[in-house]
Symmetry: C2
Subunit: 302 residues, 2 copies
């Protein structure tokens, strides 16, 4: 959502508020120590403060709102989710991976610091996410903490985000079909989006069987988000995006756009957003922010 | 302990048993999927199966034995600790970090596979460690699971292992004094050794105030271990060690040996082992394995 303004005033306010809260929380979490670890902390601050769409934190807050979860608990969980997301960006941008120089309009961590610091900064944010969740300050009930941790570990590990990234590595010129690309993206991006929504419900002490509609929402939202990302990669403006675009085509990777074409991809993303919103039909006005987020995902693409 | 045989038959049996159990557990945890993630899983298997001292798992088992913890719970926790240790070795060996080609007598992961796979394999083992701990199969009580996770996250993050590694990066030619080297090593190696002992006590439901002696044991053991590592780096045989030696001297890094000299370093390691064993004086024969491990740490150096 960097560089894009939404027409929905409630969403606009929520986006601003969440961005400010994330900056504040990472600033408090990552005070630079007066010892040789200072560059490590500066690298973590560079990556976490002042940038990014904050989509996953927003989803935690928007879901937590359905169940009257305390703002502080949601804020801590949102920080953990975002820490995992940012660690994955730092590692994905490394020369051995996607080799990107720019992220959120700033130099990537290995460019602003060095590769070793980038690897370690990613590893530290990864550990910090679990440290934040395991802290009794996040939730007094250890059952809730353990469930949040299981949710995040699953979503970020080899059957989630990191597994999707491994499939993505194998995708160069591998001629994946639509089913494989869908599965890849569900793991690489969808799993953590799903974990953000799920975390809001876990904080709300909703039993797994009560989370079915929210899971459906997150599933469709995650796919729509990725299809729009693929559309923006083809049609977007690098300045507005704050990162290098059109890399998939150069690398010969199949995407939703290469497999479906621009028109069908756009149609599919809108269908998925309608479906996502439909999953929320049992909720009233308290789910309007979740609905606005879903609409916003396709609004980005124009 | 690779390539070294202990004279203590009970320790020898325990080492063999733990090594076999870790191989078995990683084999079961890391079944290679029939999809594009196969190289990722093969890389994780390469790093976790069939090698390594298994010191941290052994410490979990040896401590758990004091409190009649189930063998399966200890085995799961030992797997998580070892997964964190192995992920850190994979990342430390990367070209941007220590740039090592050999580990446990085998090619390092980025040599046997490639850098991107090595980065992701490390990230996945990191996530898997927390997934294993968060699983109710590890312990029925979520309070115990949450405490195990907090213990491991703290020990592996920026105030533990990864922070120590960041200090180590800054150590090249930085003329650290003995206090700084001690702190660096307590973070880099000592924190995870401490977490292994602490995890055994957490599984045994020992309250924090009851863990003081065990913490003392782990603290002194961790330092003795690192001093002996520094001695072996200067005096050891690369074939037996299964990795490149004498790198610290080449890089101009201060170590316990460069700061204390060989004789005082050796003296210090033996003093620390005596101290470590002394911390166990309130325990009877059930702590003999912990005592044997401490003696073994200096036995390695000859």
């Amino acid at each position: 959502m960097s560089g894009v303004i939404t027409a929905n005033p409630a969403l606009h306010a929520a986006l601003k508020e969440v961005a400010a809260e994330m900056d504040r929380r990472f600033d408090a979490l990552l005070k630079v120590p007066d010892d040789p670890r200072a560059p490590l902390y500066r690298a973590m601050r560079h990556a976490t403060i002042g940038g990014g769409k904050r989509l996953r934190p927003l989803l935690v807050f928007a879901t937590a709102r359905l169940f009257e979860v305390s703002r502080d608990a949601a804020g801590r969980v949102a920080t953990a989710l975002e820490a995992i997301h940012v660690y994955s960006l730092i590692h994905d941008d490394l020369p051995a991976m996607d080799d990107d120089d720019l992220r959120h309009g700033k130099p990537t961590v290995h460019k602003a610091f060095d590769e070793a610091t980038a690897i370690l900064a990613g590893d530290c944010l990864h550990a910090l996410a679990f440290e934040v969740l395991a802290d009794p300050a996040t939730h007094a009930d250890p059952f809730v903490r353990a469930e949040l941790i299981a949710d995040l570990a699953r979503a970020s590990g080899p059957s989630g985000m990191a597994g999707g990234q491994a499939m993505d590595l194998a995708a160069d010129g591998a001629q994946f079909d639509l089913g494989t690309v869908t599965r890849l993206q569900q793991m690489k991006t969808g799993a953590l989006i799903g974990a953000a929504v799920e975390a809001g419900a876990i904080l709300g002490r909703v039993a797994p069987e009560g989370r079915v509609h929210l899971r459906g929402y997150a599933h469709d939202l995650g796919l729509a988000f990725q299809i729009v990302d693929d559309l923006m990669d083809v049609e977007g403006d690098e300045k507005l995006a704050g990162k290098k675009l059109r890399k998939d085509g150069e690398q010969g990777k199949e995407t939703f756009v290469s497999l479906l074409g621009i028109d069908r991809a756009r149609q599919q993303s809108r269908l998925l957003v309608d479906q996502a919103i439909d999953h929320l039909r049992s909720y009233g006005a308290e789910a309007d922010l979740l609905r606005a987020i879903a609409r916003y995902v396709v609004e980005r693409d124009r």
